[in-house]
């Protein structure tokens, strides 16, 4: 029944351990709060960009799990700080004795599990953003003209605001707008010959033009924005094709949004990794402190040396004890004899 990783802890090292744990617990609480803020920010961004992400994309699970993990880490840190503070004061420690055991179990299983899950999601999910954004942006572009169709009437406003805010145009470039009809049919003159020609020029009967909406315009351009007849370079006076084209935004919204969301997920992953590390250290330290103080019978100021350990015995022995204890619960009478023999045997060598 040898304890796992024992550590001898006299009075001074015990006090040092408690003080160090207090600091570590506050750092853990800070890191948990940071992870909470990062995941809250990511959730807010996803809520705003919800229309441009396909509903089947599982990316939204990451900030939700990270939120829970951050909250548990924050709670663990605060309770750990309280416990290590109490372990320095003999009057305050007794109520904490009962709390510490369950806390360690919850912190290790619950908090640790959630953090591992969140880290795994942070590594795996950003890959699914690519297809999710592709689908979502494609749908938004197709519904740009449907300003009077219930359910899609906000697509135009949201896409315009996206292009204005993130400085992008189209899915992968401004030419995406040439392939879809983005002018609502309600505002097309049925008697205009040009309109009829364009409608008849393609199989689906769409009004396709080589122009872009106003939200693609780049304010840095020195000339007023050129939005129409973009495939005819000589349609506009004094257009110099050799000069860098500042007229429209150069990047597609797919690339811009992907970089933005992946950056946020990376920051969140970093915060979760730091929280995970601090949580492991804090829980291990608390376990050593708890077992060392249990060895003294809960008396803080005991001058004696005690041993702190992670587990009272190896894994096999622990499972056997748990199994036997489960057996004792079902059949109390015959099993009581062997444990009663053991304490007198231990008592004799001491006497």
């Amino acid at each position: 029944m040898a304890p796992v990783l024992p550590l001898v802890l006299p009075l001074q090292p015990r006090i040092r351990l408690a003080q160090g744990l207090w600091l570590l617990s506050w750092l853990l609480a800070l890191a948990g709060g940071l992870a909470l803020l990062c995941s809250g920010h990511l959730l807010a961004q996803l809520w705003q960009l919800g229309t441009f992400l396909a509903p089947s994309c599982p990316f939204a699970a990451l900030p939700q799990v990270a939120l829970a993990a951050g909250a548990v880490a924050l709670g663990t840190g605060l309770v750990g700080a309280g416990a290590s503070r109490a372990s320095l004061d003999a009057a305050q420690y007794p109520p904490w004795r009962k709390v510490l055991g369950p806390l360690l179990v919850v912190g290790a299983a619950g908090g640790g599990g959630l953090l591992v899950l969140a880290l795994a999601l942070a590594l795996a999910l950003p890959g699914s953003l690519d297809t999710g954004l592709e689908e979502g942006l494609g749908t938004a572009l197709a519904h740009y003209k449907d300003t009077e169709v219930p359910g899609h009437c906000h697509a135009k406003r949201l896409l315009d605001e996206l292009q204005l805010r993130h400085h992008c145009c189209g899915r992968h470039g401004y030419k995406d707008w040439f392939g879809i009809q983005w002018v609502s049919s309600r505002y097309l003159d049925p008697n205009d010959q040009d309109v009829l020609d364009r409608l008849q020029s393609n199989v689906e009967g769409l009004y396709l033009i080589d122009g872009v909406p106003f939200s693609c315009c780049n304010p840095h351009s020195p000339r007023p924005c050129l939005q129409s007849r973009l495939s005819e370079p000589h349609a506009h006076p004094l257009f110099d094709p050799r000069q860098p084209n500042l007229n429209l935004w150069a990047h597609g919204c797919h690339g811009v949004l992907l970089g933005h969301l992946q950056g946020l997920a990376g920051t969140l992953g970093g915060a979760l990794a730091v929280t995970f590390l601090l949580q492991i250290l804090a829980l291990v330290g608390l376990r050593y402190l708890q077992t060392a103080l249990e060895g003294l019978g809960g008396v803080i100021d005991g001058e004696g040396e005690t041993q702190g350990y992670l587990f009272p015995s190896g894994l096999k022995d622990m499972l056997k004890t748990a199994w036997r204890q489960g057996g004792v619960a079902h059949r109390p009478a015959p099993e009581e004899a062997p444990p009663e023999e053991a304490p007198p045997k231990e008592g004799l060598p001491e006497a």
Partner: protein, 346 residues
């Protein structure tokens, strides 16, 4: 007859000192808040100084920053004094400085009130600065090749997009200026020549607006050119069309933004001023209560605290008397010097 007398026993004095110590440290926090509000206001004014002709007055944010710093200094000093007030030996050190310090505190409170009032009154000066600045900004919109003004187009476009506004008072302001640079006009075209001949200054005026005036909430693609010509666009009536362009002018939009910013800053500064006045009154009571301890050997005795030793009118008369005495003493010295010189002369 003292003003607002209050009796203090030892316990009450201790409680007053402790309460004042806490309030002073909270007030240091409030001073930091005022400082950061002043800094934020200064940064916001600097960000848009291009459309204000670089001539906006930074008096209000500068004085808020100064008040914040002074508040931190005074209140931490007062906190130290209150902490020492419970110990007679330490308090004896501060005793001679307390009366002038209280006078300085009263002056600081008056200054803080004046700055708070200025916060609410700044709107008027900002309105005229904005009107001039925006007019010039729109005039220089087309000068993207002129060094020193090449950024104006970008500034005005981003301003109109961010504040959801168009022009100075409305979109028609753009009809009266030439906002397309001559460099991008084809002077061989008949249409361009007609427009330039149509007005005295030879400017290319159009009934169109830049793209940044467009409203994304409009159900139809943005109509920017030929805005007053109903027949140029299908199913378009410029009298009833409301969603196509932003309706409000940038002067009104910027003014309302800065007004709300300064109103909230002024409200916070007013609360801080009330807090500071409470602290000054508390400090005065502590000062007079500790002065009134008649027997320094017996700290348990009762004492009285007051705001003013005599009533308001008597204090004012005494103050005027002391001023007159100061004047008279100067006169007496001058007369003495003259009398001294006269016998010498004579």
């Amino acid at each position: 007859m003292a003003l607002l007398k209050v009796k203090f026993d030892q316990k009450k004095r201790v409680k007053l000192a402790q309460g004042l110590w806490l309030m002073n440290w909270l007030s240091v926090l409030a001073g930091i808040i005022i400082f950061s509000l002043g800094l934020f206001l200064k940064i916001e004014l600097r960000k848009r100084s291009d459309v204000m002709n670089n001539s906006e007055s930074h008096f209000v944010p500068n004085s808020l920053i100064g008040m914040g710093v002074l508040s931190c200094v005074f209140n931490s000093l007062a906190g130290k004094i209150c902490y020492d007030a419970l110990d007679p030996t330490k308090y004896a050190r501060w005793k001679p400085w307390l009366k002038p310090y209280l006078a300085v505190c009263v002056l600081f409170n008056i200054a803080l009130l004046l700055v708070t009032l200025c916060c609410f009154l700044m709107r008027g000066s900002l309105e005229s600065t904005l009107a001039h600045g925006l007019k010039n900004g729109m005039k220089y919109y087309r000068d993207t090749d002129t060094p020193g003004r090449c950024f104006m187009k970008k500034t005005i476009d981003m301003l109109q997009i961010e504040f959801k506004c168009c022009g100075n008072n409305g979109f028609r302001d753009w009809f009266e200026i030439q906002w397309i640079s001559n460099r991008y006009l084809d002077f061989s075209s008949k249409e361009v020549k007609d427009r330039i001949k149509s007005n005295v200054d030879g400017r290319y005026l159009v009934d169109g607006v830049p793209f940044s005036c467009c409203n994304p909430s409009s159900p139809r693609p943005c109509i920017q050119y030929q805005l007053t010509n109903n027949s140029a666009h299908y199913s378009y009536d410029h009298q009833t069309e409301e969603l196509n362009l932003w309706v409000s002018g940038c002067r009104a939009a910027l003014l309302s933004y800065y007004s709300s910013l300064m109103n909230s800053t002024g409200a916070v500064a007013l609360l801080v001023w009330l807090f500071e006045v409470t602290i000054t009154i508390g400090l005065r009571y502590l000062h007079t209560a500790l002065e009134g301890v008649s027997n320094p050997e017996d700290p348990e005795c009762e004492s009285e605290g007051w705001l003013l030793e005599k009533s308001m009118s008597e204090t004012w008369k005494a103050f005027l008397e002391s001023l007159k005495k100061l004047g008279k003493s100067n006169q007496v010295e001058a007369e003495g010097a003259d009398a001294g010189q006269a016998p010498e002369a004579g």
